[in-house]
Amino acid sequence: MRFMMFIKVEPGDENFEPTEADVAPMMRYNEELTQAGVLLALDGLQPPSKGATITFGADGKADVVDGPFAEAKEVVGGYWIIQTKSKEEAVEWATRVPAEPGTKIELRQIFEMSDFPAELQDAAGELSATPPEQTSDL
């Protein structure tokens, strides 16, 4: 089973530039995930000031607001996708994230195709007729 771990931090200084010492524990943690063969993907996210929020109103129209968002209590700072045998194993990995006080990790299980009934699987297959993305050319 696959899980996505979101790391949520308090909104801080937009121009914060982490030092090598700041990121070392996180790099060690990521290395540990890699060495355990559970890490599928990870990314850090840029601050909300570089993003936007798109809200769909009652009329279904999209309303776009650029960041930052003053009212935000927490900001998603990045994510991991891990593959484990059980939820407990994923939770155990989540508890090992080297985090500052106040940090939150949200752990969410990813839907697998087999979680859907067969009819829905067929429908989903037909709907998503987009081919796999090409990421490399040889």
Binding site: E31, G125, E133, L138
Partner: protein, 430 residues
């Protein structure tokens, strides 16, 4: 509370899966005996199962397990030292006790943990053991699987697996293979043995994806996990990345390769939207890594490159058959096999026309090695249909139908034979 006990047990399971390879590797570094290391680790697990449900899971469960296992080892040493012992055994145990009591901080250095894990993989896959023993040991010590899980995945009894493990541990101890990462000339054959074990585990799961028991297809992910671990520990070996790439790409098609009823769907007929993009991306990246290392591409890397040609084609019609045919030729040069030639005939047929494919398949038939393999005649029949030589195609499909023991396949062959008789072809590429 039964619920709490169950929750604690599952938490211990999770900790065990994460910590046991490092724990066993660390203990094996000190005892130089994998069997003994695993026994000590198991003892620590038993202690955890007693204590943690009552006292809670400790903050650093890995360190707790390691400390418990070491205490146990020292106890064993003290008890043994009281008995009359051979001089050399005593000397060994003194060394062991010193190692255990001494400064163990060194063992927590990342590189050493990595080296320990790598030595553990090489030891579990040592050629003094038979393939089944290697698989059982590897899944148990590196995959964190219990004996009953291995037994279910391999459709055998728990007692059989248990016995396999016990014997394998004894063989390792008696043959004095030690606990080390092979070097020099020894490395290549030993690495080949490790890669073979991982590939065998994957194929056991891949062949069984239509089964009812989730533990069998799950073997694919156990193998993938092992391959990923290996790639992080042995990053300079191109074939490690080649194998990882091959497994990621094959696993990316897992959910597209069976119909709702469980019937297999051939690669070219698969709904490509169902391929797992994340695994495709990972597979292509590993292939790039393998090809970027300074060594000629080995068999796993070439197979991965073929799988990548399929992964990159947005539709079956877009497949780069010329490249696939060239890759098969390269593969045939370093690892020739008649089955490979059959695949090559298909690729050559698509790339350069059915007549060229027919030449390859006729060479296989002339070599007289795959006489009872129905696929040879089925491929030949396909090529003949494309050439409009229907009576010959009909004959080949009919003979192929007579060769296969699989009812579904026989039906398919007879259908094609009938279609060929009426000049319809009806050939779908295999």
């Amino acid at each position: 509370m039964a619920d709490d006990a169950e929750r604690a047990r599952r938490a211990i399971d999770a900790v065990w899966r994460i910590e046991s390879p490092r724990l066993i590797a660390g203990l094996a570094r000190m005892t130089r005996d994998v069997g003994r290391a695993e026994d000590l680790a198991q003892d620590a697990l038993v202690a955890a199962l007693e204590r943690w449900p009552r006292d809670g899971v400790p903050d650093n469960p890995g360190a707790w397990l390691m400390a418990t296992a070491k205490r146990r080892a020292i106890d064993q040493f003290r008890r043994a030292a009281n008995l009359e012992r051979k001089q050399e055994e005593l000397a060994f145990d003194v060394g062991l006790a010193m190692a255990l009591q001494g400064d163990i901080v060194a063992a927590s250095v990342e590189d050493e943990i990595g080296d320990g894990l790598l030595a553990l993989i090489f030891t579990c896959c040592h050629p003094v053991l038979g393939p089944q023993a290697r698989i059982a040991l590897t899944l148990r010590m590196l995959g964190g699987l219990r004996t009953d899980e291995i037994a279910r995945a391999f459709l055998t009894s728990e007692a059989t697996v248990q016995q396999r493990v016990v014997r394998a541990k004894r063989t390792l101890a008696e043959s004095g293979v030690g606990f080390a990462i092979p070097e020099g000339d020894e490395l290549a054959p030993r690495l080949a043995s490790v890669l073979e074990v991982v590939y065998l585990i994957f194929n056991e799961g891949y062949a069984a994806t239509a089964g009812d028991d989730w533990l069998r297809p799950d073997l694919c992910f156990d193998a993938l996990r092992l391959a990923r671990i290996l790639a992080s520990l042995e990053p300079r070996e191109p074939e490690v990345h080649g194998l990882l790439s091959l497994l990621e790409l094959q696993a990316s098609r897992l959910r597209a390769r069976t119909a709702a009823g469980g019937a297999p769907i051939l690669l070219l007929d698969q709904d490509r939207a169902r391929w797992d993009r994340l695994l495709v991306t990972r597979g292509l990246a590993s292939l790039d890594t393998a090809l970027g290392l300074p060594a000629p591409a080995g068999p796993y890397t070439l197979q991965a490159a073929i799988a990548a040609c399929h992964a990159r084609a947005r539709t079956a019609a877009e497949t780069d058959w010329v490249k696939i045919a060239a890759l098969y030729e390269a593969l045939a040069r370093i690892a020739p096999s008649p089955v490979l030639e059959v695949n090559r005939a298909v690729a050559v047929g698509f790339a350069f026309g059915p007549l060229s494919g027919l030449r390859v398949i006729d060479a296989v038939i002339a070599a007289d090695v795959l006489k009872d393999y129905h696929l040879v005649l089925s491929v030949r029949g396909d090529l003949l249909c494309k050439l409009g030589r229907y009576p010959e195609a009909h004959a080949d499909f009919t003979r192929a139908a007579g060769m296969t023991r699989n009812a579904r396949e026989r039906e398919l062959m007879l259908e094609r034979a009938a279609a060929a008789r009426w000049g319809g072809g009806g050939a779908s590429p295999s």
